[in-house]
């Protein structure tokens, strides 16, 4: 993860006691874009759940009542205050 993006590999292949070389250009990303995408999604979702939800997530299944009951908001309520997010 700490090397430049593209590498040129010289592949030394030993076969039948004969030695020869061939060059192979491999394009590879040093940091997996898939991993970055997954982590960004986790970060945004987790941050929203703990720090910002006012009933929006549960309203997807519970409807408008979720904005009154705020079950998820109340579940993360104490961590929200402790971590410095605005609340109420």
């Amino acid at each position: 993860m700490d090397k430049p993006t593209n590498y040129l590999y010289i592949l030394d292949i030993l076969k039948n006691e004969m030695s020869y070389s061939r060059q192979l250009l491999i394009k590879r990303s040093d940091i997996s874009k898939v991993a970055i995408g997954i982590l960004v999604a986790i970060m945004l979702f987790g941050f929203f759940v703990v720090g910002f939800d006012q009933g929006q997530l549960f309203s997807l299944v519970e409807g408008k009542q979720a904005f009154d009951s705020k079950w998820l908001h109340e579940f993360t309520h104490d961590m929200r205050h402790a971590a410095g997010f605005p609340c109420h």
């Binding site: 993860m1 700490d2 090397k3 430049p4 593209n6 590498y7 040129l8 590999y9 010289i10 592949l11 030394d12 292949i13 192979l24 491999i26 590879r28 940091i31 997996s32 898939v34 991993a35 970055i36 997954i38 982590l39 960004v40 986790i42 970060m43 979702f45 987790g46 941050f47 759940v49 703990v50 720090g51 910002f52 006012q54 079950w71 109340e74 579940f75 993360t76 309520h77 104490d78 961590m79 929200r80 205050h81 402790a82 971590a83 410095g84 997010f85 605005p86 609340c87 109420h88």
Partner: protein, 264 residues
């Protein structure tokens, strides 16, 4: 100029075939596990250190509502408190994984630029910077408040201010780091001084320009101040534990492993 490596065919096949399982997966697992561990410890610590202040603030808020003649359902409040305390550790885990995800991304991209060759020290160093940028500095402008502070009708406004300041702080730190790494030549101390000057100047202006928290404080200020110190203590501990755990796991599993291919 491309780097040239000599590898055997087997080594190359293994490297390519196993790229997902040998590099991406350890990176993801290390990042998520370290956040879950640090978040769990944060939740447990908060139950002992921060909860007493939250209980006290809610007690004062309830007394105030009763004195104001409001119809207060104490059974409902007790039920909510059980639910809220029950979520402390789960909330800590979600918070921990969320921040460790960001931490993992920043660490992966900045690892080469971080001081020392020890991944554990690198991780703790980065965790300290991120704690300062993402918690300490935003808390100077919009500090943590216990329940009983904050009107429901201003919540979205306050969330907007908080996110705005948080994003300015994080983006400025990233920009300052990028500038000194790519545009500035000179000694390390000169680069650090320039980065600090850029970050300090932008945050000072933001601090002065951004509007204050609009809500009045109606509970004793000493309760609020001790709550803020407790919050700063446990969140700082969280960042320290996250850096230590992440660095330890990174050192052990080496998701950056490229060294097995020997450069001639």
């Amino acid at each position: 100029m491309p780097l040239v490596f000599h590898v055997t065919e087997n080594e190359l096949d293994n490297e390519v075939d196993n790229e997902l399982s040998m590099r991406t997966l350890p990176f993801l697992v290390i990042t998520i596990i370290s956040g879950a561990i640090a978040g769990t410890i944060l939740g447990i610590i908060n139950l002992g250190i921060v909860e007493p202040y939250i209980d006290k603030a809610i007690e004062l808020e309830t007394q105030k509502d009763i004195q104001a003649g409001q119809n207060v359902n104490l059974d409902e409040i007790v039920g909510y408190r059980i639910w809220q305390k029950g979520g402390e550790i789960v909330g800590g885990i979600i918070y921990g994984i969320s921040l460790s995800s960001l931490f993992g991304i920043v660490f992966a991209y900045s690892r080469n630029s971080l001081p020392t060759s020890n991944d554990k020290v690198k991780a703790i160093f980065l965790a300290s910077i991120m704690c300062f940028v993402l918690f300490i500095v935003p808390a100077l402008k919009y500090p943590a408040n216990p329940p009983a502070v904050g009107a429901p009708e201003t919540i979205y406004y306050r969330q907007g201010l908080f996110v705005g300041f948080l994003v300015i702080s994080g983006a400025t730190a990233l920009a300052a780091a990028a500038i000194i790494l790519k545009k500035i030549d000179g000694t390390t101390s000169k680069k650090i001084s320039i980065a600090c000057a850029i970050y300090g100047a932008v945050m000072l202006v933001s601090y002065l320009v951004m509007p204050p928290n609009p809500d009045k404080i109606s509970i004793p200020i000493d309760l609020i101040i001790t709550f803020r110190f407790a919050s700063a203590l446990t969140i700082s501990m969280f960042w320290g534990i996250l850096g230590l755990t992440f660095g330890t796991l990174w050192s052990k599993f080496k998701p950056h492993k490229f060294e097995k291919i020997t450069a001639f």
